[in-house]
C-alpha cells in the first residue's frame, strides 16, 4: 500500500470523526438535567444569578454556535474544567489514560496469545474432546458478565488462595519508588530495574486483564477456529501437502496466515469493545484508569469529563477500525485499500 493511499484513507476519517463529534455533542446537550441547575444544587440563587451563570458558560447561545465552540476547543484538546476535580478535563484524562491503556493492552495480549493457538488446535482436532471443551468454554466466556467473573476470580485468587492482590494498580511502597517515564508501570519498573515493583504490578494487573480479555478471547477463538476450518479445506492446503511440506509449516504458515485475516479484523474491532469493558472491570478491581473515572463522573454528573471521555472512546474506536482495515490489507495481498 502506498503512502498516498494511506493519507487518502486517513483523510476519509475526517467526516466520520466530525459525525462522531456532532453525535457526542448533541447527546450531551439533550441529556436531561440542566448543568446550571446541577451546579447550583441546593444553593439559593436569584434568577438573575442563574441567568448570568448560563451566559458565562455560553449556554444561552444557539446550539450550532455552541457546537462549533465545542469542536474548536476539542481540536485543541480543551474540554473545559472538570466540575469535580476543579482542573482541566484534559489533564485529568491524561493522568488516568496510561493505566487504562496498559490494562487494555495486557488484556489484548492475553486474548491473542491464548485465543489463536486454542482456535487453531480446536480446528485441527475438530469434534475431539478438546474441541468440545473449547466450544463450551468460549460460549461461557462470551456470556459471563465481566463484573461477576471478575468477582469470582477475586474470591478465588485473592481471598481464598491469597495469591494475588485484591485491588489497585501497584502496592503503595512500590508505587512511590518507580519514576514515571512511559507512565506504563510494567515498562517503567522494568527499565529502572525494579523487579520487585514489576512483579507486584504484574500481580495487580493479571486478574483485571484476564477478566477484561475473556470475552475477546472467547470470540477470537471461535473466529480463528471457523476460519481455520474453512482454510484447511482449501485447495492450496492440499497442494501444500502434495509439495511434501511438513505439517507445522502447512498449519502455521499456509493455513494460519489466511485464517488470520478475519481474526485480526475482529480483534481490532473487539479492542474497541474492551474500552466499554474497562468501565466495569476497572470498577470491580479498583483500577485507577479512565473507565472508573468515567463511571464516577457519571454518578456526580461531571458532564464535561463524560463528554470528553465519550468523544475519546468514539475516536479511538474509529481509529481501531481504521487500523483493522490497514492490517487487513497487510495480511491479504488481494485487497488494496
Amino acid at each position: 500500500m502506498s503512502v498516498t493511499r494511506l493519507i487518502e484513507r486517513l483523510l476519509q476519517l475526517v467526516p466520520v470523526l466530525l459525525g462522531v463529534s456532532v453525535i457526542v455533542f448533541v447527546m450531551m446537550a439533550l441529556t436531561p438535567g440542566d448543568p446550571v441547575e446541577i451546579m447550583i444544587g441546593d444553593q439559593l440563587v436569584t434568577p438573575e444569578q442563574e441567568e448570568r451563570m448560563r451566559r458565562d458558560l455560553g449556554l444561552d447561545r444557539p446550539m450550532v454556535e455552541r457546537y462549533f465552540v465545542f469542536l474548536g476547543n476539542a481540536l485543541q484538546f480543551d474540554f473545559g474544567t472538570s466540575f469535580y476535580h476543579r482542573r482541566p478535563v484534559s489533564d485529568v484524562i491524561i493522568e488516568r489514560l496510561p493505566a487504562t491503556i496498559e490494562l487494555t493492552l495486557m488484556a489484548m495480549i492475553i486474548a491473542l496469545v491464548t485465543a489463536i493457538p486454542l482456535g487453531v488446535l480446536a480446528a485441527v482436532k475438530k469434534n475431539s474432546i478438546f474441541d468440545r471443551i473449547a466450544t463450551v468454554g468460549s460460549l461461557l466466556g462470551v456470556s459471563l458478565p465481566g463484573f461477576w467473573f471478575g468477582i469470582l476470580l477475586l474470591m478465588l485468587f485473592a481471598v481464598q488462595l491469597n495469591l494475588l492482590p485484591v485491588a489497585g494498580r501497584v502496592a503503595y511502597e512500590h508505587g512511590v519508588t518507580v519514576r514515571p517515564i512511559t507512565h506504563f508501570l510494567l515498562i517503567d519498573s522494568l527499565i529502572q530495574g525494579q523487579f520487585a515493583a514489576f512483579r507486584n504490578a504484574l500481580a495487580h494487573i493479571i486478574l483485571p486483564a484476564i477478566t477484561l480479555g475473556l470475552p475477546m478471547t472467547a470470540i477470537l477463538m471461535r473466529v480463528t477456529r471457523t476460519a481455520m476450518l474453512e482454510v484447511l479445506r482449501a485447495d492450496y492446503i492440499t497442494f501444500a501437502e502434495a509439495k511434501g511440506l511438513n505439517r507445522q509449516r502447512i498449519l502455521w504458515r499456509h493455513a494460519l496466515k489466511n485464517a488470520l485475516i478475519p481474526t485480526v479484523t475482529v480483534a481490532a474491532m473487539e479492542t474497541g469493545s474492551l474500552l466499554g469493558g474497562n468501565m466495569i472491570v476497572e470498577t470491580v478491581f479498583g483500577w485507577p484508569g479512565l473507565g472508573r473515572l468515567v463511571v464516577e463522573s457519571i454518578f456526580v454528573r461531571n458532564y464535561p469529563l463524560v463528554q470528553a471521555a465519550v468523544l475519546l472512546y468514539a475516536v479511538t474506536y474509529v481509529l481501531l477500525n481504521f487500523l483493522a482495515d490497514i492490517l487487513y490489507t497487510v495480511l491479504n495481498p488481494r485487497v488494496k485499500l
Binding site: A234, D235, Y236, T238, F239, A240, E241, A242, K243, G244, L245, N246, R249, R253, H254, K257, N258, I261, L331, N332, P333, R334
Partner: protein
C-alpha cells in the same frame, strides 16, 4: 524389461458417508513406465483424481485406502511412515491441481511458494546462511524461467492474483517441478484455461518431460489432449478401469462401449453435420454397487449376461478391456 516407475495393484479407496460407503476407487491397477506419459480419462466421479490422490497419500478422513499396493520404484508407499511419505511427496512424485488460482496460496508470494519446496527437498543446496538463500533464489528464478515467465527475477515477490490464469498454471508447474520429481501427476492441467493457453501448457509439460526424463500422468476428460500427448491411456468409469492400451490403438479402435461413447460425444471437424451423440444416462451412485458391469445401465449392447462381475481381459498387445462383448486377444 525395466521395472515400472509406479505400479498400483488392486487399489480400493472408500469414503464413509452418512448415505453409506462410497467406493470411489474399486480395484484399480495402474502402471507407469519410466519416461512415459500416461493419460487417464473419465467423467467426473470416475475415480481418476481419487486414484492419484491415493498414490500421493492425500486421502483425508472420511476417506481411506482400504486395499491395494502402491509400489513406487519397488517401494510400497502405503507402508511408509508419515514423515517418509512427506519426503516422497514433492521430491519423487509431484502433483499439479486443476485450478492454479485455488491451488496457490493467496497470502504467500510466488517466490515463497517455490522456495519452500526447495527448502523441503533439495539436498544439493548449501547448508545455511546467505549462500543458501542465494542458491534458493537462483533456483526459483531458474524454475520460473524454465516455464516461460518473463523477467522472473522481479516476479518472485508478487502474489498469485497478480498473474494471469495461464501464468499461474505455469507457476504451479514450476513449483511441482522444482525438486525434479521422477513422476508428475497433472490433474486436469488445462481444464481451467483458454484453448490457446491449454496448448502452451501441455507443450511445456511435454518439453520438460523430455528434458528431465520424468514420467507424467495426465488426468483429463479430454480425449483430444490424450491423443496428442500420451503414449498410453487408461479409461476409467465408476471407480474402475474399463479400458487400457496404447493411445493410438484405444482411440483408433476403442473396444469398450464406454470408450466408444466418449469418442462419439466429441465434436470433430471430420464429422461435421452429424449430430454429437452424448452417452445417455448418468454415472451410477457409487454406494452399494451390485457386482455387475457398472456401465450396464447406459450400455447399448448390454444384456442379461452382463449382470455378473466382469474382469479385465487382454484383447491385444498391451490392451485390456472390461467387457464381455469384446472377444479376447482379437485383432491387432
Amino acid at each position: 524389461m525395466s521395472r515400472p516407475l509406479l505400479q498400483v495393484r488392486g487399489l480400493r479407496t472408500v469414503f464413509d458417508t452418512r448415505a453409506g460407503r462410497v467406493c470411489a476407487v474399486d480395484g484399480v491397477d495402474v502402471t507407469v513406465e519410466p519416461g512415459e506419459c500416461l493419460g487417464v480419462v473419465g467423467e467426473s466421479g470416475s475415480g481418476k483424481s481419487v486414484t492419484f490422490a491415493s498414490v500421493m497419500g492425500l486421502i483425508r478422513p472420511p476417506g481411506r485406502i482400504e486395499a491395494g499396493e502402491i509400489l513406487f520404484d519397488g517401494v510400497d508407499l502405503r507402508q511408509l511412515s508419515r514423515r517418509q511419505m512427506q519426503a516422497v511427496r514433492g521430491r519423487d512424485i509431484a502433483m499439479t491441481m486443476q485450478d492454479a488460482l485455488t491451488a496457490l496460496n493467496p497470502a504467500l508470494t510466488v517466490g515463497t511458494q517455490i522456495a519452500e519446496m526447495l527448502e523441503a527437498h533439495d539436498d544439493e543446496l548449501p547448508r545455511g546462511g546467505p549462500a543458501r538463500a542465494r542458491a534458493i533464489r537462483a533456483r526459483a528464478v531458474e524454475m520460473l524461467g524454465l516455464v516461460g515467465i518473463p523477467s522472473p527475477d522481479d516476479r518472485l515477490k508478487q502474489y498469485p492474483h497478480e498473474f494471469s490464469g495461464g501464468m499461474r498454471q505455469r507457476i504451479m508447474i514450476a513449483i511441482a517441478l522444482a525438486s525434479k520429481p521422477r513422476l508428475l501427476i497433472a490433474d486436469e492441467p488445462t481444464t481451467a484455461l483458454d484453448v490457446t493457453i491449454q496448448a502452451q501448457v501441455l507443450e511445456l509439460i511435454d518439453d520438460i518431460r523430455a528434458r528431465l526424463g520424468m514420467s507424467v500422468v495426465l488426468i483429463t476428460h479430454d480425449l483430444g489432449v490424450v491423443a496428442q500427448h500420451c503414449d498410453r491411456v487408461i479409461v476409467m468409469y465408476a471407480g474402475q478401469v474399463v479400458e487400457e492400451g496404447p493411445t493410438a490403438a484405444v482411440i483408433g479402435s476403442p473396444r469398450h462401449p464406454y470408450t466408444r461413447g466418449l469418442l462419439a460425444s466429441i465434436p470433430r471437424p471430420a464429422l461435421r453435420g452429424q449430430p454429437i451423440r452424448p452417452i445417455e444416462g448418468q454415472v451410477p451412485e457409487l454406494i452399494d454397487l451390485p457386482p455387475q458391469c457398472r456401465f450396464h445401465a447406459r450400455c447399448p449392447e448390454a444384456g442379461p449376461d452382463c449382470l455378473r462381475p466382469i474382469e479385465m481381459r487382454r484383447v491385444g498387445p498391451g490392451r485390456q478391456v472390461r467387457c464381455i462383448r469384446t472377444p479376447a486377444e482379437a485383432g491387432p
